[in-house]
Structure formats: structure tokens, C-alpha cells
């Protein structure tokens, strides 16, 4: 990942996300040990097939020492327990995945504060009707579904690094299975803040989940892009531009 050189003091989980790790610590050590063992075995046998085994061992050592498995990456698996990748939060590739970003001409702190107050989200997320705070990390979400149906679920914040990242997912057993995260990065001097959102809606989580996935489904990217545009417009200019209600012939 390009941001490898960035420092994230005091947050090992965030640092892991940034470094591209997708393996848990236990799996890393097992990988290193098994790889070293294989390599040793191959070298001591000194046969033609030994080179193949030694190579495999070397790959396992590399995988363990970097914490990044190319094969896991290819199939979308992640055992590192990071809150940023919503695929992990929902345990796979099910449902609709979206990743969108926008650059906003406001300080990180302001944007983070606005978003962290989840009750603000319906101001720019069009399909949301309300988000109600239950505890500091648990909230009740209501969305407008197809044909006027109202979908409701509870979500909890599962990862939170002030002024960097907020990750959330629906609480186990909810009708709607969804997860999301938002990252905030400095876009450089005079350039404001880069905001990156990942969202996942997973249809197997029940009927309502399927309805919501259909709602955002095919055009989920467009939907989130327009949500982020409204977020930017609201935070930069104080309003969302509109012509609804103007006269015409």
C-alpha cells in the first residue's frame, strides 16, 4: 500500500490496516515456523524436489514476516482483525461493496466530529431517514426501503481512532446486515481532508437486508458518491445546492 510510510501512533490495529496486513499474529508465527521447517527439511534432503519445497517454505516465511498473504488477498480473506476492511466485518465478499472518496476543504477534526455524531448522517445520506443514538457506540438506523417500506437495524461502532477512522457494523442478529468505515486523511497544505468510505450491504442477512441491498445495490457506488458530494457541499458551503421548488414554464 502506498501509505506504508505513514505513522499511526498508539493504534496497532490502524497501523496493521495501513501496512496491508491481512493475517492474524498467531497465523503469522505459524506461517514463519512452518516455512522455516519446510525450508530446513528441503535443504537437508538436497533433492531436486527439495527446491520446490524450499521455495514454498520461503513463501510461507515471507507471508508470516510481512503479515500479508497474497492468496488471502486474492480471495478476499482477512484474519488480521482490522476494522477498516468491511469484508472482514461481514466475514466475506457477500452483498454490495462500495468504496468512494472525496476531498473536502475543511479540517479533519471538524469532519470527524460531524460524522462521529451519527445522527448527522441522514443530512447527506439520502436513503437514511434517521440515526438515533442509544449508547456512545450503539445506534438505531432507519432507512427508506423500496415501495415506502421502512427498514430498521441497530449498529455498533467497532473501530474508532479519533480524527482517523470510524468503523461500524450492524449488531449480530439484525435483519439488515451491513458494515461501513470512513477514513480521514490530510490531503496536503491548503487542500483539506480526503474522506474515504467503504460500505457493505449483505443480502443473506434476511429479507430486509436483501431489500436494502437492492435499493443501493446496482448503483451503490453512485449513491455513495452522491452522498459524499452532499457531505462536502454541506460542510464546505453550509447547504446542499438545489432547484427543487423553483418556478418553470
Amino acid at each position: 500500500m502506498a501509505d506504508l510510510e505513514l505513522e499511526f501512533p498508539g493504534d496497532p490495529q490502524e497501523a496493521r490496516v495501513r501496512s496491508g496486513q491481512n493475517l492474524s499474529d498467531v497465523e503469522r508465527w505459524v506461517s514463519i515456523a512452518a516455512g522455516a521447517g519446510l525450508a530446513l527439511y528441503a535443504v537437508t534432503r538436497w533433492k531436486k524436489s527439495g527446491w520446490l519445497i524450499a521455495g514454498l517454505g520461503g513463501m510461507l516465511v515471507e507471508r508470516g514476516s510481512t503479515g500479508h498473504c497474497r492468496m488471502y488477498e486474492a480471495v478476499g480473506l482477512n484474519t488480521a482483525g482490522t476494522g477498516e476492511d468491511t469484508r472482514h466485518a461481514l466475514g466475506g465478499l457477500r452483498g454490495a461493496h462500495v468504496e468512494e472518496s472525496v476531498t473536502i476543504n475543511r479540517p479533519i477534526e471538524e469532519l470527524y466530529r460531524f460524522w462521529r455524531n451519527l445522527e448527522n448522517l441522514p443530512q447527506f445520506m439520502r436513503h437514511l431517514q434517521s440515526v438515533e443514538r442509544i449508547t456512545d457506540t450503539v445506534s438505531r438506523w432507519r432507512a427508506k426501503g423500496p415501495a415506502g417500506a421502512i427498514l430498521e437495524w441497530n449498529a455498533e461502532i467497532i473501530n474508532e481512532v479519533p480524527n482517523k477512522v470510524i468503523g461500524w457494523r450492524s449488531i449480530e442478529g439484525s435483519d439488515v446486515v451491513s458494515a461501513g468505515s470512513v477514513n480521514f486523511d490530510d490531503a496536503g497544505p491548503g487542500r483539506g481532508t480526503r474522506v474515504r468510505v467503504r460500505l457493505q450491504y449483505s443480502p443473506p442477512g434476511g429479507k430486509a437486508g436483501a431489500a436494502l441491498a437492492r435499493l443501493v445495490g446496482r448503483d451503490a457506488g453512485t449513491e455513495i458518491r452522491e452522498d459524499l458530494r452532499r457531505f462536502k457541499q454541506l460542510l464546505e458551503s453550509g447547504e446542499v445546492p438545489s432547484t427543487d421548488g423553483q418556478p418553470r414554464g
Partner: protein, 389 residues
């Protein structure tokens, strides 16, 4: 209220529509006292701009009196007499911060439409298609002005409506066209198109230190205005071969800067004009560009071609080889209005220029449908139409 509405290609009518209301906190409502038809409105009449819808209110050059302000608008008061710029800008985004007002990120509610065509969206505009925001325009009795704390400029009482109105678009547009030429003292500037923007580009080229200004058109009254008011040398492209004439006038060097104040519905006399005309008529191209081709071809090596004329889509047979091999600089874009409004109004107040010299027709808003055709067909020596609601 009464408003001029677009109902299709060659079909604009006066309709009775509801009065506009405040929709957003930074809005204001302006009661229009004077409005104008812009050359770029003719592209709408002719159906050259996509994403127009039946019933859209046209007009982006207007001024008037503030009659209502939104709760977050702290800079305007009811009763203020203002000129409103044709571009709408939030004043707080990356682009507004850098004075690139016509590229404002937050004023186009339909930005996604423009992004499909252009990759990124420019600012919203009044009365200029849904792709540019779908805002109701100023050829009406009342207009809702979004972000009214940024755009509108107050007019001193000693300046008349006719003197102030063109601060809304064509004076700043002509001025930016000349400024984009990076004129050095003594430079020769050639200007294609002696419509109102061309006339203001001529005036502005002198203001910025040009040594000679050459104006190119075929309408005698426009060339006359360029000569009488603009003190320009004039070329009628129906009577002379423009490239040869420019070579002769500049001792074979070519003009230091060339301005295309014509845009995408250019007329010409060469074979390329008929090629473009056939292609656009068959919907195989969207824009015609005889003037731009000539400007690129005639410009001296290392010179600048500045384009205030509006282009909307894709262009065919642009001599990029000439532009590249002569090391030309091409500059263009919608006018960054708020850079120019205050300093140019200051020049008007000081009496350095009276922009009302371009007006040839003073009419009522009710006459607008006919006025569009008169202006488009360049009948009755029409150069600029202003209308009172």
C-alpha cells in the same frame, strides 16, 4: 410572474409561472429591472446545448433590486441594487479559494451530468441547461439567486442600469479573454467575432497595453462599432483572405495573441465551414469551429490563443499540429466573474468606460421571443438586446 421559457429548438415563449421562493439559507430573491440576451443564449435557441427541458426559464445577464434574503445571507439587504454574475459560486471550496470561481465545486446540483460529459463539473449557471445546474434564469420578473452573499455586487446610484448590466457577464468575459492573452506593451491582438464579447475584448486589449487591435467579422455594423468605439483595424472575412491580411498587417509575424469570441456555432467561408455544418446537421459533431482554426493558424509562433467563445461538446479538425509546432498557449473557460466585477465596476464609476455603447435594441420582456430571432439572424443591425420586465 412573467418569464421567457424554452420549449424546444427555435421555440421560446413568454409564460406565466409561479414567483420564485427562498430555497436555501444563503439565497436572495432579486426583482429584475434590466436583463439581456447573450450570444450564448442563441446556442440554446438553436438546440446546441444538451440537457435542456421544456419550460426552462432562460437568461443569465440580469440586475435588479433585492426583495428577500435567506437567513444565512448577511451581506445583502432588502432594497439593495445589485448586478448578478452569470456563474454561481459558494465562495468556500478549493476552487473559490483559488479565485477559479467558474469552477466552483458546490453550486451545481446536477454535477453528475456534467461529470459524464466533462469528467468534472464546472459551477452552476443561471438559465443554461440542467447539466449546468438547471437554475431558473433572469429573463423574468424575479429570480432566486443562490449563494447570494458571494456573487451579486452593489451598484452605486450614479451608475445607470444600462451602464451596470454588462458587469453580469460580457464585460468581464471580454476582459478575461484579453487578460488571458498576457499582453505585452505594443502587442498586436486579433479578435474573431465583433459581437458584444468581442467589443469588450477590444476595449480590454487596449486597457491591458495592446499596441494594435484587429477585429474580424462580416457584419458591417459590428465592424463599424469595432472601428468607431473600439478604435480597431477591421477585416471583413467575406472580402479579404484573413490569414493573408493578418500576415500583411503584422509584417509576416502573425498576431501576438488571437481571441476566438465566436465559439461553437462559427460561420465561415471556407470548405471547413461547410464540412462542419454538414456534420453538425447530421448530429455527427456538436460544435463548429472555423474561427478557432483560423486563430490557431494565424497566431504568431509562441503566441496565445484565448477562447471566450463557448464550446459545449466535441470538436473536429482542430489543427493541434499547428498549435503544437508553433508552441502556442491556449487559454479558455467560463469567466471567473468575481475576480473582475469590482475592478471593472470601479472603471465604469470613474468614467473610463460606458459599457452601454453595445446596446442596439431596448425592448420589453414580452418582446423577447421575437428579439431572440432578430439577434440570432443579425437582422435590423442587432448587436445587443436589453429588456425591461
Amino acid at each position: 410572474m412573467k418569464a421567457l421559457c424554452w420549449y424546444g429548438t427555435n421555440d421560446v415563449r413568454i409564460s406565466h409561472v409561479p414567483d420564485p421562493k427562498i430555497l436555501n439559507p444563503r439565497d436572495a430573491i432579486v426583482k429584475v429591472t434590466l436583463t439581456a440576451i447573450c450570444g450564448s443564449d442563441l446556442h440554446l435557441l438553436d438546440g446546441f446545448i444538451p440537457t435542456m427541458r421544456r419550460g426552462d426559464i432562460l437568461g443569465h445577464e440580469f440586475m435588479g433590486e433585492v426583495v428577500e434574503v435567506g437567513p444565512e445571507n448577511t451581506s445583502l439587504s432588502v432594497g439593495d441594487r445589485v448586478v448578478v454574475p452569470f456563474t454561481i459560486a459558494c465562495g468556500r471550496c478549493f476552487f473559490c479559494d483559488r479565485q477559479l470561481w467558474s469552477l466552483c465545486d458546490n453550486s451545481n446540483p446536477n454535477a453528475w451530468m456534467a461529470e459524464k460529459l466533462y469528467g468534472h463539473s464546472p459551477s452552476g449557471l443561471f438559465g443554461y441547461s440542467h447539466m449546468m445546474g438547471g437554475y431558473a434564469g433572469g429573463q423574468a420578473e424575479y429570480v432566486r439567486v443562490p449563494f447570494a452573499d458571494v456573487g451579486p455586487i452593489k451598484v452605486p446610484p450614479e451608475i445607470s442600469d444600462e451602464q451596470a448590466l454588462f458587469i453580469s457577464d460580457i464585460f468581464p468575459t471580454g476582459y478575461m479573454a484579453a487578460e488571458n492573452c498576457s499582453i505585452q506593451p505594443g502587442d498586436t491582438v486579433a479578435i474573431w467575432g465583433c459581437g458584444p464579447v468581442g467589443q469588450f475584448a477590444i476595449k480590454s486589449a487596449w486597457m491591458l497595453g495592446a499596441g494594435r487591435v484587429i477585429a474580424i467579422d462580416r457584419e458591417p455594423e459590428r465592424l463599424r462599432m469595432a472601428a468607431d468605439h473600439g478604435k480597431a483595424d477591421t477585416l471583413n472575412y467575406e472580402h479579404v483572405e484573413v490569414f493573408a491580411a493578418l500576415q500583411a498587417l503584422t509584417g509576416g509575424l502573425g498576431p501576438d495573441a488571437c481571441i476566438d469570441a465566436v465559439g461553437m456555432e462559427s460561420h465561415g467561408t471556407n470548405v471547413d465551414y461547410y464540412y462542419d455544418k454538414a456534420k453538425t446537421a447530421a448530429f455527427m459533431a456538436t460544435d463548429r469551429s472555423s474561427a478557432l482554426r483560423q486563430a490557431i493558424f494565424a497566431c504568431r509562433k509562441g503566441g496565445t490563443v484565448s477562447i471566450p467563445g463557448v464550446y459545449g461538446g466535441v470538436l473536429d479538425k482542430v489543427p493541434l499540429g499547428a498549435a503544437f509546432n508553433k508552441g502556442l498557449t491556449l487559454r479558455m473557460g467560463q469567466t471567473h466573474m468575481m475576480r473582475y466585477m469590482a475592478p471593472l465596476l470601479e472603471r465604469i464609476t470613474r468614467g473610463e468606460i460606458d459599457p452601454s455603447f453595445v446596446i442596439t435594441h431596448r425592448l420589453r420582456l414580452d418582446d423577447a421571443p421575437q428579439a431572440y430571432r432578430t439577434f440570432r439572424d443579425k437582422r435590423d443591425e442587432c448587436i445587443k438586446v436589453v429588456m425591461k420586465p
